[in-house]
C-alpha cells in the first residue's frame, strides 16, 4: 500500500487536526472528510444522550479507533443496505453495497410486469449475517408486488442470529406481506465437513423441525475468500476487524489454492436440489470464481438457465467486459453473483427466461 504523501497529510491537518489519522484508512481526503463529518454527527448524538460527557473527546476516541482501521460501520453502529439502515456489531460481517445491488436486481426481475408468481414465495437465505438480505428482499418486494412471502435466514453464528433478530425487530412492517419471517442458527456445511462448532445443529435438522422442506428461492452470501487471498487481497480493516468465519470457508489442504474459497458452493447447490429450489443467487468473489460456480451448476444438470451478474447488474453491460466467460454476463463491474433458475421458474422471470 503506497505511503500517504506528507503534503496530503499537511493539507488534511490544515482542515482539521483529526483528519490525518482518518486519511490512513480512507486514503483520499474527500472520503476522510466525509467520514469525519459522520463521526462528528455520531459523537454529538451520543453525547446528547449522556452516554459520554463531551462530544469532542468522544470524537477523538472514535477517530483514533478509525485510524487504527476499525470499520466505520462498527463505530457508528450501522450501515445502509439499499434503503435500509442495518445495525452492525463487531463479530458479524458488515453488509456490502454490491450484495444490495444483486438482491434489488433479483426482486426487479421477479416483479417485472406480466410475470406470474406463485401465491406464496418462499425465500431462504443461508449465511445471513446481519439478516440484511431477507430484510431488503422483503422491503423491495413488498413495494412492487402483493404476493405473500415466507422468509427464513440461517447463520452458524449465535451473534449473527441475535443481531439479525434485532434488525428484524427494528425494521418490522405490518405482517400483511409475509406469512412467516424467522432467523435460525444452523450449520450449512455439516454433515459433509467436520467443523469446530459442533454445538450448532445441521441445517436439515432445523428445517425439519420447522416443517419447511420446500423452498422457492435460495440466496446466499457465503464465505468465499481463499486463505491465500485473505492475506493478499483483503483490506486491512476487513482482515483485522471483521469475522474470519464470515470471510474464509473451512477447506481441506489438498485442493489447489485458488479453489480454497469454493467449498460452500457444491454444498449450496446440493441443498438447493434437496429443497426443490427453483431460483438460486450466490454471491462470489470474482469472475473466475463465478465461472467455476456456474460450471458446478451446469454439471448438476437441473438448471435451465445460468447467468453471471456483475457489481451493477442493472447497468448496461460493456461489450469489452464480456468474452472469456461462457455464461451470459450482465451489468458492469466485477463478477459478483451467479444466478440459476429451473424450468419451473420460467414464468416468474418472464422476459429473462425467453432471452436465455
Amino acid at each position: 500500500m503506497p505511503r500517504i504523501s506528507p503534503s496530503a497529510l499537511r493539507q488534511a491537518r490544515a482542515i482539521s487536526p483529526l483528519l490525518p489519522q482518518l486519511l490512513r484508512p480512507c486514503r483520499e481526503l474527500q472520503s476522510a472528510q466525509n467520514e469525519l463529518r459522520w463521526l462528528r454527527e455520531h459523537a454529538v448524538k451520543v453525547a446528547s444522550t449522556k452516554q459520554w460527557p463531551q462530544w469532542h473527546s468522544y470524537l477523538q476516541v472514535l477517530c483514533r479507533k478509525r485510524g487504527k482501521g476499525v470499520p466505520l460501520q462498527y463505530l457508528l453502529g450501522s450501515e445502509y443496505f439499499g434503503d435500509l439502515e442495518i445495525i452492525c456489531k463487531p463479530g458479524v460481517l458488515i453488509p456490502r453495497p454490491e450484495t444490495a445491488a444483486s438482491v434489488t436486481f433479483l426482486v426487479e426481475r421477479l416483479t417485472e410486469k406480466g410475470h406470474q408468481l406463485p401465491g406464496e414465495l418462499r425465500v431462504l437465505d443461508l449465511c445471513t449475517g446481519t439478516g440484511c438480505i431477507p430484510l431488503l428482499f422483503r422491503h423491495e418486494f413488498s413495494r412492487r408486488s402483493s404476493t405473500r412471502l415466507r422468509l427464513m435466514g440461517v447463520d452458524i453464528s449465535r451473534a449473527a442470529v441475535e443481531l439479525a433478530l434485532q434488525n428484524q425487530g427494528r425494521l418490522e412492517t405490518p405482517p400483511r406481506v409475509y406469512t412467516a419471517f424467522s432467523f435460525h442458527q444452523a450449520d450449512v456445511l455439516s454433515p459433509n465437513l467436520s467443523n469446530p462448532s459442533a454445538s450448532c445443529p445441521p441445517l436439515f435438522e432445523v428445517l425439519n423441525d420447522q416443517g419447511h422442506m420446500q423452498w422457492d428461492i435460495l440466496i446466499s452470501n457465503p464465505p468465499y475468500i481463499s486463505p491465500q487471498s485473505f492475506f493478499r487481497d483483503t483490506a486491512r480493516s476487513v482482515r483485522n476487524f471483521e469475522p474470519h468465519l464470515a470471510l474464509v470457508p473451512p477447506s481441506s489442504p489438498i485442493v489447489p489454492d485458488e479453489e480454497k474459497g469454493d467449498p460452500f458452493y457444491p454444498r449450496l447447490l446440493e441443498i438447493a436440489e434437496k429443497l426443490n429450489v427453483k431460483v438460486v443467487l450466490f454471491e462470489v468473489a470474482d469472475l473466475q470464481q463465478a465461472d467455476r460456480v456456474a460450471e458446478m451448476a451446469q454439471r448438476g444438470g437441473i438448471w435451465k438457465g445460468i447467468e453471471i451478474w456483475r457489481d451493477e447488474p442493472s447497468a448496461p453491460s460493456h461489450q469489452n467486459e464480456t468474452g472469456h466467460v461462457q455464461f451470459p454476463t450482465l451489468g458492469r463491474g466485477n463478477g459478483r453473483s451467479v444466478f440459476c433458475w429451473r424450468d419451473a421458474a420460467k414464468s416468474w422471470l418472464g422476459a429473462a427466461a425467453r432471452a436465455a
Binding site: 439502515e85 453495497p97 454490491e98 483483503t234 464470515a246 457489481d311 463491474g333
Partner: protein, 418 residues
C-alpha cells in the same frame, strides 16, 4: 451661369440629391409567382418522409408518428396542388406551341393559360407558406407593452390611443384582455379620465393564439397630427413603441410533476448516466469502503449533479436527482428567458424608438394609416383607431408580409445549406 466666378463644391454635389426619390414609397410585398427550386426539393423530401411515416403508422400506431404526419400533411397536399397546376400549365403550353393545333383550340388555350398561371402562383404561395415551421410561441397568450417614444406629451397621448385601440380590437374579436399595469403622466391609473397621456401600459391578452395575432404589432407606431397640446396649429410627428411578448403558462404545482414530459423538471432517466463510486479491485467481502457518493450526468446537456453527504447511497442518489432536475429546469428557464430577451431586442433595439424606425404611420390630416412593412394604406383612420375591421385588414396584410419574409429567409437558409 458659367460666368459665375465660383460655385460652392458642396452645393454642387448636393444639387442632384434634391430630386432624390422623396415622393416614392416602396412596397416590399413580393409576388411569389415562382418558387425557388430549393424549396421544391425540400417539399419533395418532406413528402417522401410523409409516405414513409404513413407506412409505419399502418403497422403500429404511435402518437409521435401521428403527430409528425399531421405536421407534414399540409405540405404534401400543397405540393400535390402545385404539381397539378404546373402540369396543366405545361399541357396548355405544348398545345399552343404545337403547330398542328387548330386556331380555335389555340385561342381557348391562350385564354386558359392566364387562369392556370394564376392558379400556379396561388399554389406556389400556399406551398411556400406551408413549408414555414409554425412559430413555437404562436399558440400562446401574450403581453402587450405600450410606451410613448419621441414626442413628449403628444407621444404619451398617442400611446394612450393605441392602448384603447388594442382594447377595442380585443373586445371586438372576443379576446380576453386584462390591464396588468397602467401609468399615466399625471399619476392616475384611469386612461379615459387622464388628459395627460400614458407613460406605460402592460396588457395581458389571455387567449390562446394571441401571440400569433399580435406579433405583427410589435414596433414603433408613428403619428402625424395636430396635437391637442399644440397652440399654433402645426402638425407634429411623434411615436409610441409596442412590445409583444409571449406569456408562458404559469409554472405552479405542475412543475413538480417529474413524469410530465412538458414540465421543466422532466428528465428522461435514459439520458442520465449514474456513476457510483465503488471500490476498485476485488470488491465484495474483500474491502469495506465507506464511500457512498453518487454522480449523475445528464448526457444531452452535460449537466452534472453529485452527492456524497449521506452515508446511504440510495439517499445520495435521491439528492443528486433532485439537484439534477433543478439544474436542468433552471437551464431550460434561462434559455427561455434568453429567447425572450432576444425577442425584445429584435422588436425594439436600444436606439430604435425613433420616428424613422416606424412600422406604421397614423396620419390624422389625411385620415390615412399606412403600414410600412406590407405597404398597405387605408383611409379609414377612425375605424382603425376604434379597433374595427380596417385594423384587422392592416394586421392581416402584415401577417402575410411576415410569411413572405419567412419564405425568403427559408429560401436563403435552404440555399446556403447546399
Amino acid at each position: 451661369m458659367f460666368r459665375t466666378s465660383w460655385a460652392c463644391r458642396t452645393c454642387l454635389y448636393r444639387l442632384p440629391r434634391q430630386v432624390v426619390w422623396r415622393q416614392l414609397r416602396f412596397q416590399s410585398t413580393t409576388s411569389a409567382g415562382n418558387i425557388s427550386p430549393a424549396l421544391i426539393a425540400r417539399a419533395r423530401s418532406m413528402t417522401s418522409e410523409h409516405s414513409q411515416l404513413s407506412k409505419q403508422l399502418a403497422d403500429a400506431f404511435e402518437s409521435k408518428t401521428a403527430k409528425k404526419i399531421g405536421e407534414l400533411t399540409p405540405v404534401v397536399s400543397a405540393l400535390k396542388d402545385w404539381d397539378k397546376a404546373n402540369e396543366s400549365l405545361r399541357e396548355l403550353k405544348t398545345l399552343i406551341d404545337d403547330p398542328s393545333t387548330d386556331k380555335e383550340l389555340r385561342d381557348l388555350a391562350t385564354e386558359d393559360i392566364e387562369q392556370s398561371k394564376g392558379q400556379l402562383s396561388r399554389a406556389s404561395q400556399i406551398l411556400a407558406s406551408s413549408l414555414i415551421p409554425k412559430h413555437p410561441f404562436a399558440d400562446l397568450p401574450c403581453f402587450l407593452e405600450v410606451r410613448p417614444g419621441i414626442g413628449g406629451g403628444e407621444a404619451a397621448i398617442f400611446a394612450g390611443d393605441l392602448v384603447k385601440m388594442f382594447q377595442a380590437y380585443c373586445s371586438k374579436n372576443g379576446l380576453n384582455v386584462a390591464i396588468l399595469k397602467l401609468e399615466t403622466a399625471d399619476g392616475t391609473s384611469n386612461l379615459s379620465l387622464s388628459g395627460a397621456g400614458l407613460t406605460e401600459a402592460i396588457l395581458e391578452i389571455d387567449s390562446p393564439g394571441a401571440y400569433g395575432i399580435f406579433s405583427c404589432e410589435a414596433g414603433v407606431h408613428r403619428v402625424q397630427r395636430v396635437p391637442a397640446t399644440e397652440t399654433k396649429g402645426r402638425t407634429h410627428t411623434s411615436a409610441a413603441s409596442v412590445i409583444v411578448l409571449p406569456s408562458f403558462p404559469a409554472n405552479g404545482s405542475e412543475e413538480l410533476d417529474f413524469n410530465d414530459p412538458n414540465s421543466d423538471f422532466f428528465v428522461d432517466p435514459k439520458d442520465v448516466r449514474v456513476d457510483v463510486m465503488r471500490a476498485s479491485g476485488a470488491g465484495g467481502q474483500h474491502v469495506n469502503k465507506t464511500e457512498s457518493a453518487v454522480r449523475l450526468t445528464h448526457i444531452p446537456t452535460n449537466t452534472v449533479a453529485a452527492s456524497q453527504e449521506q452515508r446511504s447511497q440510495a439517499r445520495n442518489k435521491e439528492q443528486a436527482w433532485t439537484m439534477l432536475r433543478a439544474r436542468i429546469a433552471q437551464a431550460r428557464r434561462e434559455a427561455r428567458e434568453e429567447e425572450m430577451v432576444r425577442l425584445r431586442r429584435s422588436v425594439v433595439g436600444v436606439a430604435k424608438t425613433g420616428r424613422q424606425d416606424k412600422i406604421r404611420t397614423y396620419n390624422w390630416n389625411q385620415q390615412r394609416v399606412t403600414d410600412h412593412r406590407s405597404g398597405l394604406s387605408v383611409h379609414d383612420l377612425d375605424d382603425v383607431i376604434e379597433g374595427g375591421d380596417t385594423l384587422e385588414k392592416v394586421m392581416a396584410s402584415v401577417r402575410a408580409w411576415m410569411v413572405d419574409q419567412e419564405i425568403l429567409g427559408l429560401v436563403a437558409e435552404v440555399e446556403s445549406q447546399k
